[in-house]
Symmetry: C2
Subunit: 301 residues, 2 copies
């Protein structure tokens, strides 16, 4: 099965109470693709980079079976850059710098060979671009879409149009509240389902994630770690693990989505143990399965 | 099996975004005992009330098989009174009034007939009183103890002495952080285990609860409810369900404590659906089992 991923490929400078990573590999497209690569081998990434993006990181993506021919390179602009600093609690952060750079001209055209994806995962980007992408491909079996408070605040009408075409919305708790005006997550999820998505996954960071479909709810905890080194990309890594598992099994029943929630959570719990995507560079299936089993032990009664 | 409970019996005035309850039945001893009463029939409550406490609420406790002969009545003082107001998010609250009243003379003497409890549950009270109580009884099979930030801040040395005699400490996340000076809950739990308790249960409110023993961790989610009416007493209700289940089964293996965590969480999820202890007044076993099964469905994969 093939997974088409759309998202950013970026440089991140990350400060946490445990140290600093300068110009590290980041971006939603990167985290989603690399996480999914541990489940499937047919991953196509649509993104954009600048003249300053190093060849060796493109090689890294290729080594993970990510087809990078959909990554556009802009000769006179720099790669998207984000600099953030996490607070002591590791749950909140300040954005110190956001240089959009190439993102100002991101208007992707899906290459012909990517136009029949089995599964589509839209990272957090401008909802009008998300919609244009959905319309460029033959209807996939499942479309997952992420978003953020910035789009809810600045482009809500456009976001609502996009949501009509989406099967699963991935959103964090405060964003779900902002999108619906409803503090209660159960009723907020119901409001979102009325906007289009049949399934809503609400991410609660260190407090896990909830999946809603009709009146059914499933909860996946976050793994209680002794060391959370860098939470950057945890949500995207979750999305990559989730969609990677769904694509690998080609089964989007609710029963199988529970496993996707756990695999997504397992991948997210692994990525935060190191800076950037470092812990996903040389992960083994054994490590992933060991973490999966730890989730079983954590919640089974 | 018998459960000895020590805690307050109080009047609460509670304001939430959904309404107000005036002079409602409250107190940790009340919530713990009533919750446990759905599991066992031999419950002995040590507490103190004032001249203004209504006979009908004592009758209510008796109707739940709570032996109230350990509740001291003070003729010239009023019952402990608390008035709180919850914020819109229902997770944070302001205390508007705390009238200690009878609590200023609370120095309980365990009646002779209560001195051989199988299980002991110490609600959140002055740690020197908790310690005196443990020393008054023949060593129970398991001693559970709750505490709060007030005692951590004002009586830490005394609290540390009490913890040496306790098997399970029940504490919320911010209090665990305050007690240990460690933000990470996994390492905070390890620090607490080094203080005496073999088991630490960290309550995270609407984000569930974690049980730690040695290197083992179990997680019980909070139930995602459409309606949280009044969170008062949720932690005490959890404690009552937990210890009620342990006492009913007379099994304090880790395996059985997982079930205790779920029964505790089920009882807590039920009590918050109404004001005060109202939803625990006429609960049925069917309702508890239905909620227990909903927890299975929520987390099983």
């Amino acid at each position: 099965m093939s997974l088409l991923v759309v998202g950013t490929v970026a440089f991140d400078t990350i400060e946490t109470p445990f140290g600093k990573a300068d110009m590290a590999l980041g971006g939603s497209g990167t985290y989603i693709s690399v996480s999914a690569s541990y489940f499937i081998k047919d991953i196509n990434l649509i993104s954009i980079i600048g003249y300053d993006f190093p060849e060796k990181e493109l090689e890294f993506l290729k080594s993970k079976n990510v087809d990078i021919s959909g990554i556009e390179k802009i000769k006179d602009k720099k790669t998207f850059y984000w600099h953030g600093k996490y607070h002591f609690d590791m749950n909140s952060r300040d954005t110190l710098v956001t240089d959009l750079n190439v993102l100002t001209v991101f208007n992707p055209n899906v290459p012909e060979k990517f136009r029949k994806p089995d599964y589509l995962c839209l990272g957090n980007i401008d909802p009008t671009i998300q919609k244009a992408l959905i319309e460029q491909v033959e209807k996939p079996k499942l479309v997952m879409c992420d978003t953020m408070n910035f789009w809810i605040e600045s482009m809500k009408p456009q976001l609502l149009e996009t949501l009509k075409l989406v099967d699963i919305l991935l959103i964090n708790d405060s964003e779900a509240r902002e999108l619906t005006g409803d503090y209660n997550l159960v009723t907020a999820a119901k409001s979102i389902m009325a906007m289009g998505p049949k399934i809503v996954v609400i991410k609660k960071g260190e407090n896990g994630a909830l999946l809603f479909k009709d009146n059914y709810v499933f909860f996946a905890p976050a793994f209680p770690l002794e060391k959370v080194f860098d939470p950057t990309g945890a949500g995207d890594t979750f999305a990559g693990g989730f969609m990677g598992w769904i694509a690998k099994t080609n089964d989007y029943s609710v029963q199988n989505m529970k496993l996707a929630m756990i695999y997504g959570s397992a991948m997210a719990s692994l990525v935060v143990e190191e800076f950037s995507v470092d812990n996903l560079r040389n992960l083994t299936e054994d490590k992933i399965m060991a973490r999966f089993k730890e989730f079983k032990s954590l919640t089974e009664f």
